[in-house]
């Protein structure tokens, strides 16, 4: 039992931190532009594919740095040449634009790299079990993922709260007009944040690619859950994204381990459901079976009870 709890906790943390790397960029971009960037998960996918291809030529470690930088530049270009032009036509236009970019990226990835999954492997240096507890092992690579994610969180946190650049970004979030009056180039701030957000997503892709698989559907698989994180955490709130990511990561991991069903719980307190009743199938469903939809249940509950999210200040 200890083993199960211990490893579930670790796995939950790793998954949660991965979600955080994706959602941190998304929530910043939303906070600033008021637009949900549908293409965000596509930048995550591009990160994985760029790193896979670069890794074949120059190895994993240089690719770990170069791929996010390339995707970050691409993100900045998308903002500068696309999103900024569309901005004048209102939020709907921006939303549709990012949606289009997401489809475009997925198609281009399929054209360039093909549809089958790429065999993007964990670097040899990290391909060993870090430690063993009883009969399970914890791979070193997952520990590496954790370290990178924590470092990113610390980095963003320090930049946003302790530096002058962070001050300007935060001010641009809430008072863009005033910041512009003070002589700062607000559109450029937007472009930089969009680029950095995309680069963060790409970094998440680079380190998640070998574990979660590198295939054209990878953006779609993770895309929806990232929106859940951002909404639960509160739109635009970095702390919120952090807490919500960990919450979802851990809830989902632990839920899988639980084979309790409503019927079973009722039986434990002496209430037996008639096997012939229409709801019998529903009672038999275990928490483990519904684990992957739990985040969405959480999303609905959050929107009903607290529409601003955990740490948000405005209604979604």
């Amino acid at each position: 039992m200890f083993q199960l709890i211990f490893f579930s906790l670790l796995n939950g943390l790793v998954y949660g931190m991965l979600l955080f790397m994706l959602s941190s960029g998304l929530t910043l971009i939303f906070g600033m532009m008021g637009v949900l960037n549908f293409a965000h998960a596509s930048f995550y996918m591009l990160g994985a594919y760029f790193a896979f291809t670069l890794g074949l030529h120059i190895g994993f470690w240089p690719a770990l740095v170069i791929a996010p930088v390339l995707v970050g530049l691409l993100g900045a270009l998308v903002e500068r040449q696309g999103l900024r032009r569309v901005h004048g036509f209102g939020h709907i236009a921006e939303l549709i634009f990012t949606f289009g970019v997401a489809i475009l990226i997925e198609e281009v990835v399929q054209l360039v790299w093909g549809r089958p999954a790429k065999s993007y492997q964990v670097p040899v240096l990290l391909d060993f079990p870090l430690f063993r507890v009883m009969s399970s092992s914890f791979p070193a690579y997952k520990a590496f993922m954790l370290v990178v994610a924590v470092a990113i969180f610390a980095f963003i946190f320090v930049i946003l709260t302790r530096t002058r650049a962070g001050l300007i970004i935060q001010a641009s979030l809430t008072h863009p007009g005033m910041v512009a009056m003070l002589g700062h180039n607000v559109p450029r701030v937007f472009m930089v944040v969009f680029g950095i957000g995309s680069a963060l997503a790409a970094l998440a892709g680079v380190i998640a690619g070998p574990v979660l698989g590198t295939f054209p559907g990878m953006a779609q698989v993770l895309g929806s859950i990232v929106f859940v994180v951002v909404v639960i955490g509160g739109l635009g709130s970095l702390t919120g994204a952090f807490v919500a990511s960990l919450l979802i990561g851990i809830v989902q991991t632990f839920a899988v381990a639980m084979d309790v069903s409503v019927g079973g719980a009722l039986a434990a307190v002496g209430v037996h459901v008639n096997p012939g009743s229409a709801l019998h199938d529903l009672w038999k469903v275990t928490i483990a079976q519904v684990a992957p939809i739990l985040p969405y249940v959480l999303l609905v509950l959050m929107l009903i009870v607290r529409p601003t999210g955990l740490f948000g200040t405005r209604e979604t």
Binding site: M1, Q3, L4, F7, S8, N11, G12, V14, Y15, E106, Q110, G114, R115, P116, A117, K118, S119, P129, R132, S135, S136, S137, P139, Y141, K142, V211, L212, G213, F215, P216, G217, Q220, V221, L222, I225, Q252, T253, F254, V256, A257, A288, Q289, A291, P292, I293
Partner: protein, 416 residues
Amino acid sequence: MSKPKSVLVLAVIVTLLAGLASSATPADPIRIAYVDPLSGPFAATGENGLNQFKYATDAINKAGGVLGRQLEIVPLDNKVSPQESLIQLKKVIGDGIPFVFQGNSSGVAHAISDAVQKHNERNAGDRVLYLNYSAVDPALTNEKCHYWHFRFDAHADMKMAALTDVIATNKGIKKMYIIGQDYSFGKAVAEAAVAMLGKKRPDITIVGNELHPIGKVKDFSPYVQKIVAAGADAVITGNWGADMIALAKAANDGGLKVPFYTYYAASDGVTAAIGAAGIDRIRLVHESHPGNPNAPKALSDYIIGYRKLHPQNDVNQPRIHTGLNMLAQAIKRAGTTDVDKVAAALEGAEFTNLSGDQVVMRREDHQLQMPIYISVHTNKNIKHDLDASGFGLSLESKVDRDKATQPSTCKMQRPS
């Protein structure tokens, strides 16, 4: 318009007209729809299936086609969604395409099968034939069987019977864990495993019987931890596509070293993902010779030819070749593409497949009767590897056709 330009335009028009005239062939092609995922998480599986259909079609066309006409595969993307499949089926019917191949997901198969049955009952004049090359829920040729559905793959119970025969001989296994995708096929696998193990090895306890949503799980580590915590000696899974890749990866990472008995743990990225960690540990039940160590010549040549065109893909579904060729043979025998006559010709039809096995389309339930093979994941004596990874499947045992057969509860209603 300047002079040189108008001359150019004229030249283009003339060539186009000439092209039109010469391209008018004496006979239209026989169109065959392929309705399977070409986007989303299972696109890799669907794409490789499509390539195998085109490859098998090209061979038939090069040999002169069927009734002097060429075969043409019309790919339609269903995103493994029953709703999308029904929309595509409407298109197929609207375009007057008489034959539909589909294989990925029994959930989709049930939807198409029902729709085809209803359509054919109401529209005697323009019927369609549903040719199922891969959806193996036993119900499709049992309680849900009908005249317009033909299956070219061994169904889940036939495969599970072979798999449990192998498991029964491994005395080291005392605790079995079953994990699968939460839909009709995953449930059929779990039910068959529990029932058959209960008969063949009553001493084995089922320590876990897990269903997870199909195509939605990103990381299988929590499931692997659960398998470890349950103390399982072996795992049975019907997972395929992205769900199989992710499960294999998580098992490798989590240090889960028990044998896996699977339906689809090979090709489309799975073999590469399993790699060295799965040697002599991952077993697979399928309908064809795995190509190693000594492949029948026909299969070997077929694999080599396919690999030349698609170096990254494998011939992981030789049943596509079987299905397509049996259809071609039935059309030839019927002398027409009329669905009623082709269906009648398919019933009871015999064919020698790439593995050199004689297979028969059983009249009673339209389930193809065939031998079943069990293979093991290895890198020893591999002539035809998978995923270009150096690893592949090697033959371990074969169950003959008359032993692999399963009774059917089908009461076939034939059109009068």
